[in-house]
């Protein structure tokens, strides 16, 4: 199948990537090129095959529920674009 400009707009919204009106057509062409390439997977008969979700078959390890990290809030918040009183600042979400 081939993506429409509306599809591209929806995927960009889901991806939280702003696309200008001028970028949309070019993006549509490139995505359709890639989707056309991966389309060949549809022709393969995979009935009865279990999906392989990881490179090795291991069970997720559990660890004891104890504190292993020290408090380094200042170090980590020093990287943030905007903080105040130990909190990350973002535009107001709730009126």
């Amino acid at each position: 199948m081939s993506l429409s400009l509306e599809d591209v707009t929806r995927i960009a919204l889901l991806s939280r990537i702003e696309l200008s009106a001028g970028e949309r057509e070019n993006t549509r062409e490139q995505l359709n090129g890639i989707l056309g390439f991966i389309e060949q997977l549809q022709a393969v008969d995979t009935s009865g095959i279990a999906p392989m979700s990881h490179a090795v078959d291991v069970v997720q390890r559990l660890r004891p529920d104890i504190v292993t990290e020290t408090d380094r809030r200042a170090d980590f918040q020093a990287l943030a674009p905007e903080t105040e009183a130990g909190l990350y600042l973002v535009p107001q979400v709730i009126e």
């Binding site: 939280r16 997977l41 095959i49 999906p51 392989m52 090795v56 997720q60 943030a80 674009p81």
Partner: protein, 493 residues
């Protein structure tokens, strides 16, 4: 000195022929001289490097408090800029992390520092390791030292170019679909991607978590062995790190190859491989037969599906992993926005480059409602078929061989206009990542179809799961009777 093996560098330090500070200075001076033309390094910091070298000299002098001094103590190396390094900028080749100074070290960085290795700097790479030519880096393309009009391969292109130009004796790399092996081939080096789970991913910026694996890049298999011994091992902070008894990867280096069975996949020797690559690979196989190995044809019938399956699975995982870059806790934030949604989408639009955006969009699409089964689940089923092919093939052989890349290094711009053409340059390497198998590339000659300079060709060795010691043995025995791995570009002397 610049062409010495890690073993020779170690011996020189042990015999006090020169200090770690003097050794680091030699390479720092070479970086200053040659890097402007190559763009292999994103960050260097002479003061930090020399402080580490002084500490290494001190350890060698006073001993390490009862424990043996690592043979790597005092030897310089450089890290791909995907590994977090405390106090050094870690950019992942992206604008979104252009000013990110990591508050912690990656496990690989910790381990090599604990061995006493001295960091020369951080190496350029394709943005978020997405690329096969190093043209997608925000910090500009890396040039191939053999011919600066050609790409070094990718995504570990800075690592490969820096070693090829002898700006560092060794480097770290990561390999999600061929990103250690393909640049190693295109720059004439030896590089190894271990079995998935052997080296910790902690502190390695995630691209596709079920495929990403770190490994060593250096001049020879013997060098890679020393590095892998220091890099491998269980780490509780990586949930997919494997709890295995530590191995000495050098244990089989000197074993003769008589009786070795080399599997040659029919699918790797068909159309699509350039004639000069084929000639060099065939000549290497002849050398292996002289060493007592036999070759047998094997089949990997689903390997042709590996590139399309990868371009569903890897973008799907990337779209999830890269959702963390939201301009809130670290990284680039747009200067102007009206609300939170716009802050996210504009920061990401400004911070990510074209290829990274494409993969996030594709990944989001194949995971979205109504398409998950048709694309993502189907690709995961095909991934199992590809892995099963290898299980069957390894019944008839000890290692698999073929070309690493279908061509020698190509010119800048040759494949950058068409993403699918670029994806196909990893056609021989991707299936091992999907299966979780170890793979390596070693130099086996030169090709030059249309280019002015002879360009290196890589021989790929694919091992069975946890077959690293065997692969290193197979590579080392070849390097004992050939000298391709000692060649360096004349202009870099």
């Amino acid at each position: 000195m610049i062409n010495a093996s890690l073993k020779q560098l170690s011996a020189a330090l042990a015999a006090k022929k020169l200090s770690a500070v003097e050794m680091a200075t030699i390479f720092l001076d070479r970086i200053e001289k040659f890097n402007p033309a190559l763009n292999a390094f994103i960050t260097t910091d002479r003061a930090k490097t020399l402080a580490q070298a002084r500490a290494a000299d001190e350890s060698r002098k006073v001993g390490a408090g009862g424990t043996a001094i690592s043979p790597l103590c005092g030897i310089p190396l450089a890290h791909k800029d995907i590994f977090c390094t405390r106090g050094w900028r870690t950019t992942c080749g992206s604008k979104i992390l252009a000013d990110f100074v990591s508050p912690y070290d990656a496990n690989v960085v910790e381990k090599l520092a604990a061995a006493g290795m001295v960091t020369l700097g951080k190496l350029n790479m394709d943005e978020f390791a997405m690329g096969s030519s190093n043209e997608s880096s925000y910090f500009g393309p890396v040039k191939n030292p053999w011919d600066v009009s050609c790409v070094p391969g990718g995504s570990s292109g800075g690592s490969a170019a820096a070693i090829a130009a002898r700006l560092t004796p060794a480097a770290t790399g990561t390999d999600t679909g061929g990103s250690i092996r393909q640049p190693a081939a295109l720059c004439g080096l030896t590089g190894l991607k271990p079995t998935y789970g052997v080296v910790s991913r902690y502190g390695m910026i995630a691209f596709a978590s079920s495929l990403d694996q770190a490994g060593p890049m250096a001049k020879s298999a013997e060098d890679c062995t020393l590095l892998l011994n220091a890099m491998a091992g269980f780490d509780a902070r990586d949930s997919t790190s494997l709890e295995r008894t530590p191995e000495d990867y050098s244990r089989d280096l000197d074993k003769p190859l008589a009786g070795l069975r080399i599997g040659l996949p029919k699918e790797f020797f068909g159309e699509g491989m350039d004639t000069d690559v084929r000639a060099a690979v065939e000549a290497a196989l002849t050398e292996y037969r002289k060493l007592g190995a036999t070759t047998v044809e094997v089949r990997l019938p689903n390997s042709g599906l590996s590139v399309p399956a990868y371009y569903v699975i890897a973008p799907a995982e990337a779209s999830s992993n890269l959702s963390r870059f939201d301009g809130v806790r670290y990284g680039h934030r747009a200067a102007e926005y009206d609300d939170l949604a716009e802050m996210y989408s504009r920061s990401r639009a400004q911070g990510f480059g074209a290829e990274v955006k494409r993969r996030i969009l594709i990944g989001t699409y194949v995971l979205s409602h109504g398409y998950y089964d048709a694309y993502y689940l189907q690709a995961q089923k095909i991934r199992r078929l590809i892995a099963a092919d290898f299980v069957a093939a390894f019944k008839d052989c000890d290692v698999i061989m073929g070309p690493t890349s279908p061509s020698v290094a190509f010119a800048f711009g040759a494949k950058s206009a068409d993403p699918v053409q670029m994806y196909l340059s990893d056609i021989y390497t991707i299936s091992t990542n999907l299966a979780g198998l170890p793979g390596m590339s070693l130099p086996c000659g030169f090709g030059n179809t249309q280019l002015a300079n002879p360009m290196p060709v890589g021989l790929q060795i694919i091992g069975n799961w946890f077959g690293e010691a065997k692969m290193l043995n197979v590579a080392h025995q070849y390097q004992k009777v050939t000298d391709w791995h000692t060649r360096m570009p004349e202009k870099m002397r």
